[in-house]
């Protein structure tokens, strides 16, 4: 008697479910270097440095959208922050080489990495990657102000507020509050040349690749920074000059946490190894303690002085 269709389907399901589970768990453990899944509704920015005119409208718009006081500490007049800081989530910088070769503006804001190092290091998940939109958000109620994020971020984005009793961590959160209202992020809503645009990450990626195709030789290495760099980011960059000059280091395809914390993660997996070590230690110390106590009490009888354990 041949196997019925029903038997075949249930058989596959019965064998397949544990196998799928084993593969899912096994690959998680063994292949830490696998591509990181992109969040289902990943949004992002595409910044084309070749179109940017450096007007800094996005800097002002960013402060306005996030209800931050303008940073006029430079000359007490203009909102011209020299770098990201506790009042600045978004900044335009200029790369101008001494030898007069091609210059470029560089927009700096959070890259919203697919595997963010800041969130990997954050002790109580104050920095957290939204599983749907993929935006890396900061929650004031969970942050202890340890400033580890300022050390771990390979792009050096999160900034700590150094003055005041209630310091905050300032970083681009892709204007989550505006997205909820159906608006675009502040910086993209004012850009006059469309150098920075907002959209779903796959769409932006296609757009960027189309631009490279349409303008061969215009872009550095004919590639999009953030497609695979650091495991992939949700802010994508196109540039004429090397990405390193814009403050985007070459980090390789593997994300920083996956590359550096591999052994740490394996050692603490399910807390199995430490627990095993603990059990062994207890056994050894029990035996030592017994011998030590016996010796101490013998000594107590010899000297007439109370044992010091």
């Amino acid at each position: 008697m041949a196997i019925t269709r029903r038997q075949l389907l249930t058989g596959i399901a019965k064998a397949g479910a544990p196998a799928a589970l084993a593969v899912a768990v096994g690959t998680d453990v063994l292949h830490a270097g696998e591509p990181i899944p992109v969040p289902s509704a990943a949004v992002g920015l595409l910044y084309d440095a070749t179109i940017c005119i450096g007007c800094k409208a996005c800097v002002a718009a960013c402060a306005e959208a996030n209800d931050t006081a303008p940073d006029t500490r430079g000359d007490a007049l203009h909102q011209a922050p020299s770098d990201l800081n506790d009042l600045t989530r978004n900044v335009i910088k200029l790369y101008k080489p001494e030898d007069g070769s091609a210059f470029s503006f560089a927009k700096r804001q959070c890259m919203h990495c697919l595997d963010p190092a800041c969130a990997a290091g954050c002790p109580f998940q104050a920095l957290h990657k939204d599983p749907e939109s993929g935006i890396v958000n900061w929650t004031a109620d969970k942050c202890i102000g340890c400033r580890y994020c300022t050390i771990t971020c390979p792009y050096h984005i999160p900034r700590f507020q150094w003055v005041g009793f209630n310091p905050r961590v300032t970083k681009c959160e892709l204007c989550s509050h505006r997205l909820a209202k159906g608006l675009k992020p502040g910086c993209t809503s004012v850009c006059p040349t469309g150098a920075v645009i907002f959209g779903p990450r796959p769409v932006l990626l296609m757009d960027a690749k189309q631009r490279i195709k349409d303008n061969p030789g215009r872009y550095y290495q004919n590639r999009v920074y953030g497609e695979i760099d650091n495991g992939g980011t949700q802010a994508l960059y196109l540039s004429r000059v090397p990405f390193e000059k814009l403050g985007l280091p070459e980090l390789g395809a593997e994300s920083v946490p996956a590359r550096t914390l591999r052994w740490q993660r394996r050692f603490y997996q399910y807390f199995a190894l430490p627990a095993l070590l603990y059990a062994g230690l207890v056994q050894v110390i029990r035996k030592s303690l017994k011998g030590h106590e016996e010796e101490a009490h013998e000594r107590e009888k010899e000297t007439g002085l109370r044992a010091q354990l």
Binding site: D83, N85, A117, A119, A120, G121, C122, P123, F124, Q125, K142, C143, I144, G145, C146, R147, Y148, T150, I151, T152, H156, R159, F160, Q161, W162, V163, G164, N166, P167, P249, L251, V256, P257, T260, L261, W263, Q264, R265, Y268, P274, L277, Y278, L281, V284, I285, R286, S288, L289, G291, H292, E293, E295, R299, E300, T303, G304, L305, R306, Q308, L309
Partner: protein, 454 residues
């Protein structure tokens, strides 16, 4: 060093008799005959006061006005020195404890109380300063909700593991000297004290085992902290072996701290040195040093970073300073073993620990270059707070060794102490503290006296 015998003829040590000349460490004896409050103590107290006032100001004004920390160097000396370096020196309870309890180096038990005390003080002061260094310390309450922890974060591991370690296993391990003092203080307390001791001893294996697992975890995770910083740490220091090297540095540094502090105390308070115990500690330390240096150099060679050690820059300078200090310290320790010379041994401990301190300080500060222009130098207020919290530990140590039986001493010292107090402080006799100093004889005597009086 002139007051201590340069060499000890081992054959003359009678192991069981109460030989007056024996310098064999038999018992932990409080430091007596020296006042707690003196000029040094008052100076340290003034530093503590200054640090507390500045910490109060920091809570109101923020970190910027009191420290040199900036956007590039988010971590200053409060974290990188007081916590990451000084808890390595204070890992004695871990390193000496493992040698004594796990590898059963029995003679090292005489150093255990010193190790436990120095560890507790180093961790307590480091964690207090961590609370001041944290920008939003009120959110530390998340520590009691394990499901809120980021289990894969090295910093969460450090913060959680360190607090648990200092508050539970380390604190509990330091209870016996306190109970002992209560036991001698008043005979009416004895049944209660003995009951608590019995219960404590029942839980000791679990507590002691935790006291080795937890520091093993967080001392290595301190190294793992800088792994995430990637290439911004100089290649001579940035390695996947950073956790192992951090843990290894903590072991030989803490041996140096415990044995070196004990030697210094013996010198200052005129105690005999047991060269047998000190030799054993020095032997273990020297092997730890050579093993650690070997691992460090092998790692550098196999990663191909050796070339950067010969560049003419500050990183190479720091690297060679570190290697020379640690290697020189290890060599002096080996040499002291041959001649039983406490002077060379002490210098060896100081030098190797100093080298270890530089190593532990480098990845976060000296060899950390977030960008070419970044600079960090601690502000005066920052240094004062740092010094104040170190002083807090030293003051705690001075009080503890003069009030509790911490420092190891020859057996005769205990009897000398009892005699000292009998004649110099007769008014405290009625408390029964030293009346019962000689376990057995005096007590039965006094009991029979009181019985006959009835």
């Amino acid at each position: 060093m002139s007051t201590t015998p340069a060499t000890v003829d081992r054959t003359s040590i009678d192991r069981t008799s109460l030989d007056q000349n024996s310098s064999r460490w038999e018992r932990n004896v409080p430091v007596y005959g020296f006042p707690v409050v003196n000029g040094f103590f008052l100076g340290l107290s003034a530093l503590i006061l200054v640090a507390f006032v500045l910490s109060g100001y920091r809570e109101l004004a923020g970190l910027g006005p009191v420290s040199g920390m900036n956007d590039a160097y988010g971590w200053g000396i409060w974290k990188t020195f007081n916590l990451m370096v000084l808890t390595a020196l204070g890992s004695g309870a871990f390193a000496v404890g493992i040698a004594a309890w796990v590898f059963r180096r029995k003679r090292l038990h005489s150093l255990m109380r010193m190790a436990l005390l120095t560890s507790f003080l180093a961790y307590a002061c480091g964690l207090l300063l961590l609370g001041i260094d944290a920008g939003r310390p009120w959110n530390f309450y998340w520590i009691v909700f394990p499901w809120r922890w980021n289990m894969h974060s090295p910093l969460a591991e450090v913060a959680i593991c360190m607090s648990i370690y200092a508050m539970i296993p380390l604190a509990v391990e330091n209870i016996p000297p306190v109970l002992e003092r209560l036991w001698y203080f008043d005979s009416r307390l004895r049944p209660g004290v003995e009951k608590i001791e019995k219960r404590l001893h029942y839980f000791f294996p679990w507590i002691i085992a935790a006291a080795y697992l937890l520091p093993g975890m967080h001392q290595s995770s301190l190294g793992a902290l800088m792994l995430l910083a990637g290439e911004r740490v100089h290649p001579l220091w940035q390695t996947p072996w950073l956790p192992v090297l951090y843990l290894g540095a903590a072991t030989f540094m803490s041996f140096g701290c415990v044995a070196g502090t004990t030697m210094l105390c013996c010198l200052v308070w005129k105690r005999g040195m047991d060269m047998e115990v000190l030799d054993e500690a020095a032997r273990i330390t020297s092997w730890l040093i050579f093993g650690w240096l070997g691992l460090r150099l092998l790692d550098i060679v196999f990663r191909g970073a050796l070339g950067t050690a010969f560049h003419f820059d500050r990183f190479a300078g720091v690297f060679w300073l570190e290697v020379v200090l640690i290697l020189g310290g290890g060599w002096l320790l080996r040499r002291s073993l041959r001649y039983h010379d406490p002077r060379q041994m002490f210098v060896g401990y100081v030098i190797s620990s100093a080298g270890g301190m530089i190593y532990r300080f480098s990845p976060t500060t000296l060899a950390f270059k977030p960008n070419p222009e970044a600079l960090y130098f601690p502000a005066t207020a920052e240094v004062l707070v740092s010094l104040g919290f170190i002083s807090l530990g030293i003051v705690g140590f001075l009080i503890a060794v003069k009030r509790f039986a911490i420092l190891p001493a020859p057996l005769q010292e205990w009897h000398n102490m009892a005699n000292y107090f009998r004649f110099r402080r007769p008014y405290i006799r009625w408390t029964g503290y030293f009346k019962y100093g000689h376990f057995g004889e005096n007590e039965t005597e006094s009991e029979s006296e009181s019985a006959s009086a009835d």
